[in-house]
C-alpha cells in the first residue's frame, strides 16, 4: 500500500514545480540563454551529474509504502507497521543484514574482542566473526585477495556499463555542444565507483557498521533524502515570504517598507539557533502529547522533519528578502515601470508582470546557494539535539552518534568519515553548480562576453 507522508507530498509538489519551470523556460529563448551557458561549463555539468545522482537516491527514497503481511485478518489485508521506501527495497540486504555492533569497513570480524565459548567448553577472548560481513569466506587469510578481486571485477563491470551509457549518450551530447569529454570521464569514474561498491557491498560492509550493527553505507545513503528535503522544502517556505515581502517593501516604500524592514531586522537579530531550538522543543512536546495523531512512527518523524523545514524557513528568509528589496528599489525607477504607470497599470500587475520576472535570477541564484547552507544547518541542528527525530536517519544524527566514539581507543572513525564524505561531495557539487549558475546569470560577465 503506497504511503504519502507530508514531506513526500511536498517533494512531489517541488518536483512538479521544477518540471513546470523547465517547460516554461524551454519555450522562451531569452530565458534559455543563460542555461545554455551553464550547459557549456564542464564544472557545472559534472557537478550536476553528481547532484542528480544524489537526487535520484533521494527520490527513490521518497516513494514510500507499507508492505502487506502474509497473514490476513478476517479477509482484510494487514499491512506491516513499518513504512518502507522503494530505495529500501532495492538495497534490502544492506538494511536487513545488521551485525551485533561496531565493525570496521570491509572487516570480517567485530571491532572489539569478545569472550567466545568454544565447543570444547573453553572460553576464548577473540574477535568474533561477523554474521554477514565476509561470511562466505572460510579462510579469513584470503580476505585481502577476495576484496581485491571483487573490487576489480565490480569496477570493471561498472566501467562496461558506463561505456554503454556513454556510447548511447555521446551523440545526444555532441548535438547540443555540451562538454563531452568531461562528462564522459565523470560518467566512467562514477560508474566504476558504483560498480565496485555494489559488488563489495554484496559481501561486506563497505563502510563498516555502527553501534547497533547497522550498515553505515545504508545510513549514509538514507541520510541523503533528509538532507535534500531540508535543503529544498525549506525554500518552499522561504520563497513566498521573501518574494512577497521583499518586492512589496521595495515597490511601495514608505510605511510598508518600514514595517517589513522592522520585522526582518528584528528576526535576523535573534540568534537563530535559539529561536529554532525553542520552536522545535515546543513542537516536540505537542507531538509527544498527541500520539493518537500518528499511525506509524515514520509519519511522526516525518512531521517533525516538515516542521523543522518550516521553522528553518521562517528564520532564514530575511537575507533573500533584503536582496529583493534592494533590487526592487532599483527596478522601480526603471523607465519601463514608469511607462506602465503612465498607462495606469495597477500596482499588483506591475509587481507580477514587470518586477517579479526581473528579480527571478536573484531568486534562483540565492536558492541554489542557500541549498548547501541548509544541508549543513540540518547537520549542526541535529548535532545540537534540536534537529530531526532521533529515529530519522540523517547526517546530523550520524555525526551525533559518532561523536561519543571519537574518544575511545581504538577510535571508531568510519561513521563520522562517511557522513563527512557524503556531505562534502553533495555540498561541493551543489556549490560548484551554484557558482556557474550565478556566473551565467551575471549581467556584467555577460557583457564582457558580448563585447568579447
Amino acid at each position: 500500500m503506497p504511503v504519502i507522508l507530508w514531506s513526500d507530498a511536498l517533494v512531489f509538489l517541488l518536483l512538479a514545480a521544477g518540471i513546470a519551470c523547465a517547460w516554461y523556460v524551454r519555450q522562451r529563448e531569452h530565458l534559455l540563454l543563460p542555461w545554455r551557458r551553464v550547459a557549456q561549463s564542464a564544472t557545472a555539468m559534472v557537478s550536476l551529474l553528481v547532484v542528480s545522482l544524489f537526487l535520484l537516491v533521494g527520490l527513490l527514497d521518497t516513494l514510500h509504502f507499507q508492505a502487506a503481511l502474509s497473514e490476513k485478518n478476517s479477509g482484510e489485508t494487514v499491512y506491516s507497521p513499518e513504512v518502507l521506501s522503494v530505495f529500501d527495497l532495492l538495497v534490502t540486504p544492506l538494511r536487513t543484514q545488521t551485525e551485533k555492533t561496531y565493525s570496521a569497513p570491509l572487516a570480517v570480524t567485530l571491532y572489539a574482542k569478545e569472550s567466545i565459548e568454544m565447543p570444547d567448553g573453553k572460553v576464548l577472548r577473540e574477535y568474533p566473526r561477523l554474521r554477514y560481513g565476509g561470511a562466505h569466506l572460510t579462510d579469513t587469510q584470503r580476505q585481502d585477495s577476495d576484496i581485491l578481486w571483487r573490487g576489480l571485477t565490480g569496477a570493471l563491470a561498472g566501467l562496461l556499463a558506463g561505456l554503454l551509457i556513454a556510447l548511447v549518450g555521446k551523440r545526444w551530447l555532441a548535438q547540443r555542444g555540451w562538454p563531452l569529454r568531461a562528462l564522459l570521464i565523470a560518467t566512467l569514474i562514477i560508474a566504476a565507483i558504483i560498480g565496485m561498491t555494489a559488488k563489495l557491498a554484496a559481501a561486506y560492509h563497505v563502510l563498516g557498521t555502527d553501534k547497533v550493527g547497522q550498515d553505515v553505507l545504508y545510513l549514509s545513503l538514507k541520510s541523503i533524502r533528509t538532507g535534500l528535503i531540508i535543503g529544498t522544502v525549506t525554500t518552499l517556505v522561504t520563497l513566498p515570504l521573501a518574494l512577497l515581502l521583499g518586492i512589496a517593501a521595495g515597490y511601495w516604500r514608505g510605511r510598508v517598507d518600514d514595517v517589513i524592514q522592522y520585522i526582518y531586522t528584528v528576526l535576523s537579530s535573534i540568534p537563530s539557533v535559539l529561536l529554532i531550538a525553542a520552536a522545535v522543543l515546543m513542537m516536540q512536546v505537542t507531538i509527544d502529547t498527541h500520539p493518537q495523531w500518528f499511525d506509524t512512527s515514520a509519519s511522526r518523524a516525518d512531521l517533525r522533519l516538515v516542521f523543522l523545514c518550516l521553522i528553518l524557513g521562517v528564520t532564514s528568509w530575511t537575507g533573500l528578502c533584503r536582496l529583493l528589496r534592494g533590487e526592487t528599489l532599483k527596478l522601480r525607477e526603471m523607465e519601463y515601470i514608469q511607462a506602465a504607470q503612465a498607462f495606469g497599470v495597477s500596482s499588483l500587475r506591475i509587481l507580477t508582470r514587470h518586477i517579479m520576472p526581473n528579480v527571478m535570477h536573484i531568486v534562483l541564484i540565492s536558492l541554489v546557494m542557500d541549498f548547501s547552507g541548509l544541508v549543513l544547518a540540518e547537520a549542526v541542528l541535529s548535532y545540537v539535539g534540536v534537529g530531526v527525530d532521533p529515529s530519522m536517519i540523517s547526517f546530523g544524527t550520524m555525526i551525533n552518534g559518532a561523536r561519543l566514539e571519537m574518544g575511545r581507543e581504538p577510535m571508531v572513525w568510519w561513521a563520522l568519515a562517511s557522513a563527512f564524505g557524503f556531505m562534502l561531495v553533495l555540498v561541493l557539487a551543489a556549490n560548484l553548480f551554484a557558482d556557474t549558475v550565478r556566473d551565467a546569470f551575471d549581467p556584467r560577465l555577460n557583457r564582457t562576453e558580448m563585447v568579447a
Binding site: E29, H30, M334, E335, Y336, Q338, A339, A340, Q341, A342, F343, G344, V345, S346, R349, R353, H354, P357, N358, T448, E449, V451, A452
Partner: protein
C-alpha cells in the same frame, strides 16, 4: 614638429578572433589634436585602451606597433609601461563621477600621481596640487584640494581629472569622450580648458568623440572610424569642406538644424554591423547608397589623394572614380543632394508630408499654469520637513494641437520632473494642468486612468524603458489592456501590426524580445507603445540623447512624420539645441525650476534675449564654428533646495546688477509670442542701454 605618437597596423581582437580594431594607422604631431570620430561600437575606445595597454580581459592586441615619443609601447615591460601611463601619456575618461575614488580627497588623488611620476611628496606636492587645480580653473583651489569627489560638481570632477592627468606632465593626453556626460555650458568650459592647456604645455591630444561639433572645435587632424577601421583621415578644414567617404558625408547630413526644418533628415538606414560579421568587402556597403557590386566583394584599400586626405572607399581608387569624387566635392559644402535617395525607413511618403509646414489653426490642447513640484527635505528622528527642493517652481505653458513645444535646459533644472508631473507620475504640489479643458490635478485614480490614454511619454534610455522579459507584442498590448482599448484580441493584434508599420518595424518583430533590437529600433518600439493608446500629446524626454547621430536622425524623422500624420502634439524635453531647431515650433528655456524665456523657435534661437539662453546657445559646438562670440558661464547650476535670492541666474550672469539680486524679474513681453524674465528688459533699465550683446 615631429610625431609624438605613431600607430601603424594596430589590430585588437577578441580571443575568438573577431576584430574590434582592424588595422589602424595614424600619427599625432606634437602639440596637435587628433580626433577619432565615430558612432558607438566602432572601436574608438578600444583603440585608446590598446595604446595604453589597458585592454579588458578577453580582448587582446594581435598586431601592429605604436611609438610614443620614440618608445615602442608594445615592447615595454609592464613595469616600464606603468611609468608611461600617467607619465608620458595620460588618459581622461567619459564619466567623471566614476573615475575619481570617492574616499580620497581631490588633493590626495593628484598627489598620488605627483608621487609616482615626479617623485614629489609632502609640502611641495601639496603646493603643486593647488597650482594644478588653479590651472584647470577651479576657484578656491586651496579649499577644493581637501574636498572629496562627492562635494564637487560634474564639471569640477572632470577638471580634477584633467589636473590629475596634467600632474604627470604628459606629452600625450588621451581624452575618451571627455564631455559627453556634461551639459553644454560645462562642455564649453572643459573644451576651452583643454585648448588652453594644450597651448600652454604643448602636449598632444588624442580626442575620442562622436560629436561632430566637438571635432570641428578641437581637432587639427580627424580620423573617422567605422566598424573598427579608419575610413577617412583628413585635416579638420579638409574634412569640413569636403568629406569624401559616404559615411562621413552622411554623418554631416544627419545633423539636425533649422535650415532643414521642412525636410526630412538624411538618416543612415540600419546600424553599425556586429563585430566580425563582415570579413569581405566594404563594411559600410550595406548602409551606403553609393555602393555597387564591387563594394560587397572586394575590401577597399586605403587611398591617399593628392592633398593628403586619406579614404577607404572604392569611389576613389581609380582615376575615373577620382574624377567622380572631385565632382562630388566641388560643391564645397556638404550638400544634401546626394543623400536624398536615402531610405528613411518609414512607411510615409516623406516628400509630400513635409511640405505642409503650417498646420491648421492651433487650439490649445494642454494648458499648464503655475505648476509647482516641491520635494520636502526631511531631517532628524521625527522626519520633520526642514526645507523644500523646488524642482519645478511655478511653470506655465501651453501646447496647441499638432505643435511641438521644446523645453530646453541643463540637467538638474527640473525639466524631466515637469514632464512626469504633467503625466501625474509625480504628484504636483500646486498649480493646474488642464488637458483639453479638463483639470488633471486632484482627479481620483479611476478618473485619472481614463485620461491616461490622452497623454503618453517616450523615455530617454531605450535600453531601460522596455521590460527585457516581455515580447514586443506584450509590451504594445499592455497599455491597451490597462486602458481597455480594443477589447477583442484580434482587433488588438491588428492594431499592433498597424503600430509597427507606423514606426517602421517589420510585423514579424512583435514576437521578439527587446534585447534583439538595436537602440534605434528599441526607441521605435517605445514610440509605438506610447502610440498604442492613441494619445494626443507625447511627452518626449530626451528621446535621442542615448542614440548615435545617424540613428537620431531616423527617430527625429519618424517623430516629425507621425506628427504630420496623426496631428500629435509634442512636449519635447531636451538639452540638444540642434534638435530643437529642427523639430520645435515653440521653445521654453528652463533654469532652476522656472521658465526664463519662451517664444517661437525662431525668436528664441535666432534672437535670444535672456543672458542664459544666449550663453546656452553660444556654448553649443558648431560645425561651421566661426562667428559666434562665446559667452562663458562661470560656475555650476545652484541647488534647487537653496536657490539664490532675486533672479536665479544672477550669480552666473555677466550683466548682473543690484535689482537682479533683490527681486525675481517679472515677465516682459518682447513680442506677441516672446516672453522673457529678465530685469534687463524692464522699462527702467532699457533706457540705460544695458542690453546684452546681440548674437550675430
Amino acid at each position: 614638429m615631429g610625431d609624438i605618437l605613431r600607430v601603424s597596423g594596430l589590430i585588437t581582437q577578441l580571443r575568438n578572433g573577431a576584430r574590434i580594431v582592424d588595422d589602424i594607422s595614424f600619427s599625432i604631431r606634437a602639440g596637435e589634436t587628433f580626433a577619432l570620430l565615430g558612432e558607438s561600437g566602432c572601436g574608438k575606445s578600444v583603440t585608446a585602451l590598446s595604446l595604453l595597454r589597458l585592454l579588458p580581459d578577453g580582448v587582446v592586441r594581435a598586431g601592429g606597433t605604436a611609438q610614443l615619443d620614440g618608445v615602442e609601447l608594445f615592447g615595454l615591460h609592464e613595469r616600464e609601461m606603468r611609468a608611461v601611463r600617467g607619465g608620458t601619456a595620460a588618459m581622461i575618461f567619459q564619466e567623471p563621477g566614476l573615475s575619481l575614488n570617492p574616499v580620497m580627497t581631490a588633493g590626495e588623488q593628484i598627489a598620488e600621481v605627483l608621487d609616482l611620476h615626479q617623485g614629489m611628496r609632502g609640502k611641495a606636492a601639496r603646493q603643486r596640487c593647488v597650482e594644478l587645480l588653479d590651472q584647470v580653473g577651479i576657484p578656491d583651489a586651496a579649499r577644493r584640494e581637501t574636498e572629496y569627489p562627492m562635494q564637487l560638481s560634474g564639471g569640477m570632477k572632470q577638471r580634477v581629472m584633467i589636473a590629475m592627468a596634467l600632474a604627470g606632465q604628459p606629452k600625450l593626453l588621451v581624452a575618451d569622450e571627455p564631455t559627453t556626460a556634461l551639459d553644454v555650458t560645462t562642455q564649453a568650459q572643459v573644451l576651452q580648458l583643454l585648448r588652453d592647456t594644450q597651448t600652454a604645455s604643448g602636449m598632444s591630444l588624442l580626442l575620442i568623440t562622436h560629436d561632430l561639433g566637438v571635432v570641428a572645435e578641437m581637432a587639427h587632424q580627424v580620423g573617422v572610424m567605422y566598424a573598427g577601421q579608419i575610413v577617412e583621415q583628413a585635416s579638420r578644414a579638409q574634412l569640413l569642406a569636403r568629406p569624401l567617404h559616404p559615411y562621413t558625408q552622411k554623418l554631416f547630413a544627419a545633423l539636425p538644424d533649422a535650415t532643414r526644418h521642412n525636410q526630412p533628415l538624411a538618416a543612415i538606414p540600419g546600424s553599425v554591423p556586429p563585430l566580425g560579421s563582415i570579413t569581405r568587402g566594404c563594411r559600410f556597403a550595406a548602409r551606403c547608397d553609393q555602393a555597387w557590386a564591387l563594394c560587397s566583394e572586394q575590401t577597399p584599400d586605403w587611398t591617399v589623394l593628392e592633398d593628403g586626405q586619406g579614404v577607404r572607399c572604392h569611389l576613389y581608387q581609380d582615376q575615373g572614380a577620382r574624377g567622380k569624387a572631385q565632382e562630388i566635392g566641388s560643391g564645397g559644402k556638404v550638400n544634401v543632394g546626394w543623400v536624398e535617395r536615402s531610405d528613411t525607413h518609414h512607411s510615409l511618403n516623406a516628400g509630400d508630408g513635409y511640405r505642409c509646414a503650417q498646420p491648421i489653426l492651433p487650439t490649445s490642447l494642454l494648458q499648464v499654469s503655475d505648476l509647482q513640484v516641491y520635494f520636502p527635505i526631511r531631517k532628524g528622528v521625527l522626519q520633520r520637513v526642514v526645507g523644500q527642493v523646488k524642482a519645478v517652481d511655478g511653470v506655465s505653458l501651453e501646447i496647441p494641437q499638432g505643435r511641438t513645444l521644446a523645453l530646453v535646459g541643463e540637467s538638474g533644472c527640473g525639466k524631466t520632473t515637469l514632464g512626469k508631473a504633467l503625466l501625474q507620475l509625480i504628484p504636483p504640489t500646486a498649480g493646474s494642468v488642464q488637458f483639453a479643458g479638463r483639470e488633471l490635478i486632484g482627479l481620483a485614480a479611476r478618473e485619472l486612468r481614463e485620461q491616461r490614454a490622452t497623454m503618453q511619454m517616450v523615455f530617454q534610455d531605450p535600453y531601460a524603458s522596455l521590460n527585457p522579459k516581455m515580447r514586443v507584442a506584450e509590451i504594445l498590448e499592455e497599455g491597451m489592456t490597462a486602458l481597455n482599448i480594443q477589447s477583442n484580441s484580434a482587433a488588438r493584434q491588428a492594431h499592433i501590426d498597424t503600430l509597427l508599420d507606423q514606426v517602421g518595424l517589420a510585423r514579424t518583430s512583435k514576437w521578439r524580445y527587446p534585447h534583439e533590437f538595436s537602440g534605434g529600433q528599441r526607441q521605435r518600439i517605445a514610440i509605438a507603445r506610447a502610440l498604442a493608446v492613441s494619445p494626443q500629446l507625447l511627452i518626449c524626454d530626451e528621446p535621442t540623447s542615448a542614440l548615435d547621430v545617424s540613428v537620431q536622425a531616423q527617430i527625429l524623422n519618424l517623430l516629425k512624420s507621425l506628427q504630420q500624420e496623426l496631428n500629435l502634439s509634442y512636449l519635447f524635453i531636451t538639452h540638444n539645441l540642434a534638435v530643437v531647431e529642427y523639430l520645435a515650433h515653440e521653445v521654453c528655456v528652463m533654469y532652476l525650476g522656472r521658465i526664463v524665456e519662451r517664444g517661437t523657435a525662431a525668436e528664441v534661437l535666432r534672437a535670444p534675449k535672456h543672458p542664459y539662453t544666449q550663453a546656452l546657445l553660444s556654448a553649443v559646438p558648431r560645425i561651421d564654428g566661426q562667428g559666434v562670440e562665446r559667452i562663458r558661464l562661470e560656475g555650476d547650476l545652484p541647488s534647487p533646495a537653496n536657490p539664490p535670492p532675486g533672479c536665479h541666474f544672477a550669480p552666473r550672469c555677466s550683466h548682473v546688477n543690484e535689482t537682479c539680486r533683490a527681486s525675481y524679474p517679472p515677465a516682459t513681453s518682447q513680442s506677441a509670442t516672446h516672453i522673457v524674465h529678465c530685469h534687463l528688459y524692464d522699462d527702467g533699465l532699457d533706457n540705460k542701454g544695458q542690453k546684452p550683446i546681440a548674437l550675430s
